[in-house]
């Protein structure tokens, strides 16, 4: 059985499922039991599982990460939530020096089964400190797993896999995905960490995507299809480990690579994809790979300054066309999002941001 529910509800379902299955699962973070329940993702948990297992916390990101680590050493599976990824930067010490290292530096004696949910903001003037996508920072650290589900089903399936994984997992949710509706299987439904998802099959070009950029890519690929251009669209889902088999076999087939990212371009996941493909599949490439990511500057707040900052389906359409030797389309033909202002995900979106 599957239900049509939002991405946010899918996360809520995964939390309920996990906490019902295993008493050692606990959930905390600033605002997990407040009236908004982290954009609806933690609503009802405290009522169902009690204040010992579901609780608000001091504004102490670093120590509370260490607390999760300590609790996990004695068999607890903490799920910690941050309303914006940017706040979690205060916890990089505990994440990098302790969570990521513990299993290795003590010779495999203990492991750290914690899940850190991080929300990435975008639009509505989120600006420099409320919108950063640092998946490449986390993926750079050996010992961490990093997942970025793009669909409601993947959100549920990957959250359940993250919670029951015996390693620290960084679970990154894009705020613009929370309202998207999709078919989500009921019950204990899991998506394996490390497996990408081929969303569209085509021969002309390989598009590698992640998180919210997958939604823009789906729109772009649909339009490109109408123009006779067929794309392999791979949603990575897991950033660490990455499903290199799927990436390489697609590039070997198409010979062309476009890598999308929600983060800053330099030193990004897209950069790593291009580097690895260039090193291991160079002879298959028919032309230089291209990436679409954010410019290397802090996110501006004013709508006037942010106008061209975020990349949308139109950029994917025209970059793909250029790579395949076609002309750039006129704006009115390529701008799939043209009826929606650039600072909200869709017309149904009413906040809160």
């Amino acid at each position: 059985m599957a239900n049509k529910i939002t991405y946010a509800k899918a996360i809520n379902e995964a939390m309920v499922q996990a906490m019902e299955m295993d008493k050692s699962v606990i959930c905390y973070g600033l605002g997990v039991d407040d009236p908004k329940g982290i954009f609806g993702t933690t609503l009802g948990l405290k009522e169902k599982f009690g204040p010992e297992r579901v609780f608000d916390m001091p504004t102490a990101e670093n120590a509370m990460t260490g607390v999760a680590i300590g609790a996990s050493l004695n068999g607890i599976r903490p799920v910690m939530t941050h309303q914006r990824l940017d706040f979690f930067l205060l916890a990089m010490d505990q994440l990098v020096n302790n969570a990521a290292k513990w299993h290795y530096m003590f010779g495999g004696k203990l492991s750290i089964p914690i899940t850190i949910r991080l929300l990435v903001g975008r639009g509505w003037g989120q600006g420099p400190t409320h919108s950063q996508s640092f998946q490449s920072w986390f993926a750079h650290i050996p010992g961490l797993k990093v997942v970025m589900p793009a669909t409601a089903a993947d959100a549920k399936g990957l959250l359940l896999s993250s919670i029951f994984d015996n390693n620290p997992v960084i679970f990154i949710e894009h705020r613009w995905l929370h309202n998207l509706v999709g078919e989500v299987p009921e019950g204990d439904f899991r998506i394996p960490i490390g497996k990408a998802h081929k969303l569209k099959t085509g021969d002309d070009i390989t598009i590698i995507s992640l998180s919210y950029m997958t939604i823009e890519a789906l729109r772009a690929v649909e339009l490109l299809g109408k123009q006779g251009i067929s794309c392999d669209l791979i949603d990575l889902r897991s950033i660490a480990p990455i499903d290199w088999n799927m990436v390489m076999s697609s590039v070997k087939k198409t010979g062309k690579l476009l890598a999308l990212d929600t983060g800053f371009g330099s030193f990004s996941v897209a950069s790593e994809i291009i580097a690895r493909v260039s090193m291991e599949c160079f002879s298959s490439l028919k032309q230089a790979p291209v990436r679409i990511a954010l410019p290397d500057c802090p996110t501006p707040t004013s709508p006037a300054l942010a106008k061209n900052y975020y990349k949308r389906a139109e950029d994917i359409v025209n970059t793909t066309r250029k790579m395949l030797g076609f002309s750039v389309l006129p704006h009115e033909e390529s701008d799939i999002n043209r009826n929606v202002p650039m600072d909200i995900p869709d017309k149904t979106f009413t906040g809160p941001f």
Binding site: I26, E52, R53, M57, P58, A60, N62, A63, M64, T65, G66, V67, A68, I69, G70, A71, S72, L73, N74, G75, I76, D93, Q94, N97, N98, K101, W102, H103, Y104, M105, F106, G107, G108, K109, L110, S111, I112, P113, P142, G143, K145, N166, N167
Partner: protein
């Protein structure tokens, strides 16, 4: 406690054993077979021994870079600790941690790490797990005066107080963070334990070179923590004899005076305890000599064990990244 001869003897034995281990490491360090940063705790044995004596085997403890004493006093395996410092496969962390990263889960020693203050929240998290599992264990966190300057300390104590967690915070104030004296790091009139009391944590201080005093205070506190009394913080003043990292003495550097060092050496916790026990006839000179000789034999065996243990395979550098 003073009438319990058995405990007094065990305290003395624990301190002498830690001292002898540290001094053996110091004397053999220049063979360059122990190839990792090593922070010796000679001079600071009393706190480790007393706290280790109070804690049960199933209680938890975590510590920082200067952890040999805490690990041994909690019951950590000596052979495996020495092998770890040698980087051998029988080391307690399979050669991947070294002196700064010790673990022995069989006695509740859950890890020590090298970033100042890094294990304080981990100890608090262990205490949270104790509360969730409703056992009467205690989680002990060892750290130094430098940790008091880290934000994570305040975040952790706040949470422990907020949730009334069974944590024993043990601050060994040895006045130095590497070569930086306390006076360049904290206001001169501050008493650390009083400041912590301001956060709402029960807090006390004591002479970190007086093992009986430390034992009595911590013992009373741990009874109350087990009883649901919530976290307790101790500041014990003590002194590091050797250099911050390594096997030498470093008074020639000029960051501390020879006079200061000698005045603390006179407060040697082991000599003080020995004289006291000797005077009160809790122990004879023969028994002391025998104790020392047993310890020395055990340490010789531990070094032999470490020397004989093989190095890990090169391939194992790439294992244990994920569980």
């Amino acid at each position: 406690m003073k009438e319990n001869t058995q405990i007094l003897i065990e305290l003395l034995q624990k301190m002498k054993r830690i001292r002898a281990v540290e001094e053996t490491i110091a004397s053999r360090y220049s063979e360059w077979k122990m190839r990792c940063p090593t922070h010796l705790c000679s001079g600071q044995e009393a706190v480790a021994a007393a706290v280790g004596q109070v804690l049960r085997k199933d209680d938890f403890a975590v510590s920082s870079h200067r952890a040999h004493g805490h690990y041994l006093a909690k019951g950590g395996d000596l052979n495996r600790m020495i092998a770890e410092i040698y980087g051998k496969s029988d080391g307690c962390s399979s050669g991947k941690g070294g002196s700064m990263h010790l673990i022995d889960t069989s006695v509740g020693f859950m890890g020590s790490t090298a970033i100042v203050g890094g294990t304080i929240p981990v100890g608090v998290g262990l205490a949270l797990s104790i509360k969730l599992k409703k056992t009467n264990q205690v989680s002990c966190v060892f750290f130094g005066d430098g940790s008091i300057e880290e934000g994570v300390f305040y975040e952790s104590v706040n949470f422990a107080v907020l949730k009334n967690l069974p944590v024993l915070f043990i601050c060994e104030n040895n006045f130095y963070s590497v070569y930086s004296p306390l006076k360049v790091r904290q206001p001169e009139n501050r008493a650390i334990y009083k400041m912590v009391s301001g956060i709402g944590c029960r807090s006390e201080h004591g002479d970190g070179n007086n093992v009986v005093d430390v034992y009595d205070k911590v013992n009373t506190a741990v009874v109350s923590i087990r009883d649901g009394g919530g976290p307790m913080f101790f500041e014990f003043k003590t002194y590091r004899w050797r250099e911050h990292c390594g096997h030498n003495f470093d008074n020639d550097l000029g960051y501390r005076t020879q006079e200061e060092y000698l005045s603390w050496k006179e407060k040697d916790p082991i000599s003080a305890m020995e004289s006291y026990m000797f005077k009160e006839k809790y122990i004879t000179q023969n028994e002391i000599d025998e104790m020392q000789s047993e310890i020395q034999k055990e340490i010789e065996k531990a070094f032999e064990f470490a020397e004989k243990s093989p190095f890990p395979n090169l391939e194992s550098a790439l294992t244990d990244i994920y569980a």
